[in-house]
Every structure is written in structure tokens, then in C-alpha cells.
Symmetry: C2
Subunit: 410 residues, 2 copies
């Protein structure tokens, strides 16, 4: 008998009909005699609708009250899911994040899980019940205030519970079939990956693959809990994210990210301490810098480029302007029309020619590379925003050509 | 400086616009430097919408999960109300029933408040904040389960908090102007009562006046907390319900109730223990019996009639059938087309002719009286259901004639 944690995202529980389908699926898992903890998100667009109500009463609502408001969303789903299970003769009990012992820090809207005190969850399991837990929410034990976990919060709830309970694995039910070699909306030849390693998934997630947040993959890696990313709309298996995979492909997938902007500080004097003078003030202002590239200059000055999330780009550029004046730099450019394309694969460690192959493939498609950044299993290039899709297609064709199916006979 | 508890019902907070209007009203109260606790209901039809979702997943959802579901409703209102106050520069904090220390018994869907541990409410007030509390909900401290208080639950929350905090008074904001001498939709000459005693209000509420539940009036009387029932749609004062009124009118008002049915057990042998044999089994099955009338018979047998809420009438009749067979009674009749009309007034204690006046007024309008029940300050008559409105009009004309406004001069 296994202990399984399942998580159902918003589209999977968008309507009573969808919740009934989820209950059927849970019932089927239950018939195999598995212990089951189910984490649910708010139904469909509930969170957006609640935020719309908030905008109707305040231009700038306090984060504490936003958390109070939004946590109503998962509360509704969890109760309905428990009811749907009861209607199928399956004992179930719903618990809020607070009741499930999801303890967090005090950061309303972006709380981090600090501890899981899953006594009531364990008690529910011991009583033979399916335990339904509201995702995305927790409680700060020092102030007893309700918090929300921010983006990917329900996945984090599921993984944290899986870790605390020693679950055999965690199933993330979503509206896509799993992890693909590239976004299937862009590359028609993109293939579903049956499995991928935590390290590769981390790089893909960090590079823009939205199917799993890095946060949950990190949980999985740290506590060795396999994650099965799959669709709640059919029964076919999805992608297993786990420690090691049977055979390491050279390249697992290609991710792209259109949500960043590029800031370039031109004509910076090329002397020690310049980078620190620029990036310390940005860090102090909580600007999340992703890629950084500095070229060695020839005339005693250099250009420093970095990428930041688009919604903090103007703020970052203003900070950079200020520093630039102090440093005696020439100018600061803000470029919002960029995209990052990343090739990820654990096998590239032992294949030194991959980077060269990336540059060649992009060049042959007439795509200019503006910034490059690499890790041992990833190569990322910043290109023009409107060339991102062409870049993804070029790299997919070069590194992940369609499998040739041999014809029978003849 | 006073401590005031305000309660806003569902129609008063039905939309973000209405919540903004409520926030303006709270802000005005706050400017007079009063400490303020505000109890809110779920927005408009939210509770019905949530129950509709529940019906979509289960024909018979467990009461615990219904409570989990419904408590999302007030949670949304309380957060939005706190936000609207913040937007007006007024410090506010929202608390769920559980956070506000509303402790109850374990009866999901109809929990009774057992204790108020209002530490967090007091702390909020000490921090100079308006404390917004979710009405209708509490927590059973022994099981830590969330409960709801059933009908009139938000009013009960407000009155219990007012009692626990020693509030100066409690304002119940609703969509009607206050307590009237009769339902203004039936009697055009019905007048708004500026004040009424707890005892009279209790009798009116118990007799069908829906503006205040008996439960809250009982709280007010027990803890001597005046209640101001008023409209949230304008600023005019409503009705003060309090200990004693300046001058006791003979008659305060007329209530009617169309929600009951009459059960008659005919030909019951007239011997001791017969009533107990009938009503004990009904009490054991939680049937809420209102009026009971037994006539002394002439031939050694008698008829016993009683009224019960219509939704438990068939059940009550079945129980009565069973007992009737055991007792050797002739038959059991169920009559669903009845109504109760009640005249209430503290002054009738010292005016012995009131009952006779009631019977005369109804007789003159051709209305037959089927059952009579009296208290020291109330006379109730059961009549045909389709004659209820005529009965209310006849009694209003007889006991509460329109005030004559004397013309100036001439």
C-alpha cells in the first residue's frame, strides 16, 4: 500500500462536472487501496474573480486582506471535492492549509513553507479517509495570520505534504499532457517526455517551462519524491520527474521565456568593483536579476547587460541610471523586446559540441544572439522577442528531430 | 467613547458598490471616535450559489463539508470590507468566526454559541482598528471543526460579540427600515415603530416577523444590549429594541406566519397521559411543535391540534398516525393551508378586552378562527391560509388605526 499525494490545478476543478471527474479518478486510485492526500487549487478563474472584487473596493488592498480573500477559493474547492467523494461512498475530510499544518513565514502573498505539522492529515489517513487539503495557503504560527504561497503555491503545498508524510510519489494533475521537448503550440513535432531528471526539469522550469514551478521540483529533488506530471482530462501517463533517468538523452527539451527585458549599461569604466556597484543596489531593491553578461572592453570601458522580469524592468533601469551616473558610464538602454531560448539536457555534459551546434542552428535561421549564458546542462541565448518561436523551432529541428518510424515490410 | 457592534446583512454587502457604501457608513461612525466591531454576512446570493455548487457534486452533502463551503462566503465579505476601509485611510482587520473566538457546540449547520474568547477582537480594538468579523460561523473547540450557526446566524454573532465585549448597543443593518406595526406590503397604513421592548419583539419574532430572529432578541434581553434595527440604504433611524419603552402602547404590532401546517388527531380517548404519548415521540424526532390546542370533549373523546413548520409537517403527521393507532384515535388530519396571525403588545396585560376585540374584528371580516393561543402580551389565531392577509388588515384597522393629523388653523 502506497501513500500518494495528488494535486489538481484550477482547470481540473473548474466546474462541478470537472470536480465529479476528479472524484471518479480519486475513487479509482482509492480502489487500489492507496492512502491518498489530495491538494486542490481554486476553481477555474475564481482567484481572478476575487481579485476583481477587491479592485472594486480598493486601488491598493493590504496583502493580509488579499490573503484572507483568496483563501476562500481553495476552501470552496476542497469542500466540494470532499462532498463529491462522500457521494461515491468514499470517506473524505477537507482541511484548510492552516488545519493541515502548513506553517509559513509572514510574507503575505509570497509566503515560504517553514514547517509541516501534519497531525490532522495523519489522523484523517489513520481513520481511513481521503484527506483533501486546500493548496496555496498556510498560516504564520507566530502571528496566527493566514498566508498565501504565491505562484506555484498549490504545487508547493503538494510537494511539502508529500515530503512531510513520506509519500511514495506526487501526481500533479493539470490541463496539459506532461513535459514536452518544446512548447507544442510552437513546435508541432514536440514530443511528450516519458521521464526527465530533477536537474533537467529545474533548468527547464527556470528557463520558462511553466508546467512545473522550480519550487516544487526543488522539493522533489531534496526529498527524493518522484513527480508525475499528467493530464486530468484523460488516463494516459504523463511525465515522471525523478532522481535519475534510465538513459540520458543529450538534449531533453527546449524552453523559452518571453517575460524578461534586457538592461544594458554602456561605456562602464573597466575596473574592479563595477559589477558590485551595479548589482548590489538592484538586490537591495529586490530586483530579480536573471542573466548577466559583461564583455571585456578594448578601450578601458565595457558594456554590462542583464535581464530582469519585465514588470520590474523600468524600476531596474532607473536604478541602473543612477549607478551609471556615479560610475561615469555612457548610457543605459532598456530593451523590452527580447526573449530567452534555452536548450536543456543532462547528456550535454559529455558532449562538448552542443554549444557550437546551438550557435550554428540559430545562425542558419538568421537569428542574432544577443546574450549567452550556460550551466553544465543548459545553454541559454537571448534573442529578439519576435524571433523566439523561430529559434525554438530551429533548435528543436537540430537537436530533437522527429523520430523516424520504419515502415513495415517492403 | 462608545463601543458599538454593527451587523450588515447580505443585501447590504451584495456588491463592491454596496460594500463601499457600508465602508462610508463605518467611516462616519468612526469619525465620532467610537470603537467599532463590524459583523458581515455573505454577499447577496453567495450562500445560495455555493449550495447550488454543492448540489452539482452531491445529492446529500455531509454537514461538515457544507459548513466548510459556506464559511467561504463571509470570508470574502470580511476581507473586502477591511480593504474598503483601508482605502479610506481607516485601520481595519478582518477575522473569521474561529479567529474571533466564536466557540460553539458541534452541531454543523445549526451550532449554538457556547462561549466567546474575543482576545484577538480586543487586541484589534486596542490597536485602534475597526475589527471586521465573519458572521454566521464559529468553531467547536473540542474537535477544532468549523461550524455555522444556522438561520439568523450573523445576528447571533453580532449580539454574542456585543455581550462579550460589553458594547453600548448593536446596530443591525438590513434592507428594511425597521420594525413595523405590520408587514407594509400587506397593510399600507403600517407604521415604523421608533422603539419596542425586548418582550414584545420576542413575541413578534416568534410569531413570524422576520426582521429580527428571536435568538438575537433573547441575547439582547439577557445582556441588556439595545438593538437598533435600521436600513443600510439611507441614514434615517430605524427601530430601537430595548429593555423598556417610554410609554407602553396597548398594541405594538401584528405579525403573521404562513410557514406552518396544522395536524389534528381526532377522537382521542380523553384520559391522562394522552398528550404525553403524542408529543414525546415528536420531540424525540426533533419536530418543532409551536401551538397546541386540546378541547375538552363531551363523549369521552377529544381532538388535539398542533402546528409545526411546514417542512416537517408530513413527518409529524406520520408520527401522529402511529401514535393514533396505539391510542385508538379516530383519524389524523394534515392541513397545510393555514396561517397564524398574532397581535402583540405589552399594554394588553392591563387591558382585558383585547382578546374579545380580536375575535370581534375577525368575525366582522368573515374570518373563521381555527385555533387560539395566548401569552400575557400576545394573542395568536390560526386561520385559513388565504385569509391571513385579510386578518392582518382587519386587526391593524381595529387596533392600530392611522394617526389623525390635525389640520392647522381653520
Amino acid at each position: 500500500m502506497s501513500l500518494i499525494v495528488q494535486k489538481y490545478g484550477g482547470t481540473s476543478v473548474a466546474t462541478p462536472e470537472r470536480i465529479n471527474a476528479v472524484a471518479d479518478r480519486i475513487a479509482a486510485t482509492r480502489r487500489d487501496d492507496h492512502d491518498l492526500v489530495v491538494v486542490v487549487s481554486a476553481m477555474g478563474h475564481t482567484t481572478d474573480e476575487l481579485l476583481e472584487l477587491a479592485r472594486g473596493v480598493s486601488p491598493d488592498p493590504p496583502a493580509r486582506e488579499i490573503d484572507m480573500l483568496l483563501t476562500a477559493g481553495e476552501r470552496i474547492t476542497m469542500a466540494l471535492t470532499a462532498m463529491a467523494l462522500h457521494a461515491r461512498g468514499i470517506g473524505a475530510i477537507s482541511l484548510t492549509g492552516s488545519q493541515a499544518g502548513i506553517l509559513t513565514d509572514a510574507s503575505h502573498g509570497a509566503a515560504r513553507i517553514t514547517e509541516i505539522k501534519a497531525d490532522r492529515v495523519r489522523q484523517g489517513l489513520e481513520n481511513g479517509k481521503v484527506v483533501i487539503v486546500a493548496g496555496f495557503q498556510g498560516v504564520d504560527p507566530s502571528s496566527r495570520e493566514i498566508t498565501t504561497l504565491g505562484r506555484g503555491g498549490s504545487d508547493a503545498t503538494a510537494m511539502a505534504l508529500a515530503a512531510a508524510l513520506g509519500a511514495d510519489f506526487c501526481e500533479m494533475y493539470t490541463d496539459v499532457d506532461g513535459v514536452f521537448t518544446a512548447d507544442p503550440r510552437i513546435v508541432s513535432a514536440a514530443r511528450l517526455l516519458p521521464e526527465i531528471s530533477f536537474d533537467e526539469m529545474l533548468e527547464l522550469s527556470a528557463s520558462g517551462a511553466a508546467v512545473l514551478m522550480t519550487r516544487s521540483v526543488e522539493f522533489g529533488r531534496r526529498f527524493s519524491i518522484p513527480i508525475h506530471v499528467r493530464s486530468s482530462f484523460h488516463d494516459r501517463p504523463g511525465t515522471w520527474v525523478k532522481e535519475t533517468t534510465m538513459e540520458q538523452a543529450i538534449i531533453s527539451g527546449i524552453a523559452h521565456d518571453n517575460s524578461e527585458s534586457k538592461v544594458t549599461v554602456r561605456g562602464v569604466p573597466d575596473r574592479p568593483g563595477v559589477a558590485a556597484a551595479l548589482f548590489e543596489p538592484l538586490a537591495e531593491r529586490s530586483v530579480n536579476v536573471d542573466m548577466i553578461v559583461q564583455n571585456v572592453g578594448t578601450d578601458g570601458s565595457t558594456d554590462i547587460s542583464f535581464t530582469v522580469p519585465r514588470d520590474s524592468a523600468r524600476h531596474a533601469a532607473e536604478v541602473a541610471e543612477k549607478v551609471a551616473v556615479e560610475l561615469g558610464a555612457v548610457a543605459v538602454d532598456l530593451d523590452e523586446n527580447v526573449a530567452k531560448v534555452s536548450l536543456v539536457g543532462a547528456g550535454m555534459k559529455s558532449h562538448p559540441g552542443v554549444a557550437a551546434g546551438v550557435f550554428r542552428a540559430l545562425a542558419e535561421s538568421g537569428i542574432n544572439i544577443e546574450m549567452i549564458s550556460t550551466s553544465t546542462i543548459r545553454i541559454s541565448c537571448v534573442v529578439r522577442g519576435d524571433q523566439a518561436e523561430a529559434a525554438v523551432r530551429a533548435l528543436h529541428a537540430a537537436f530533437l528531430p522527429p523520430m523516424v518510424v520504419e515502415e513495415e515490410g517492403v
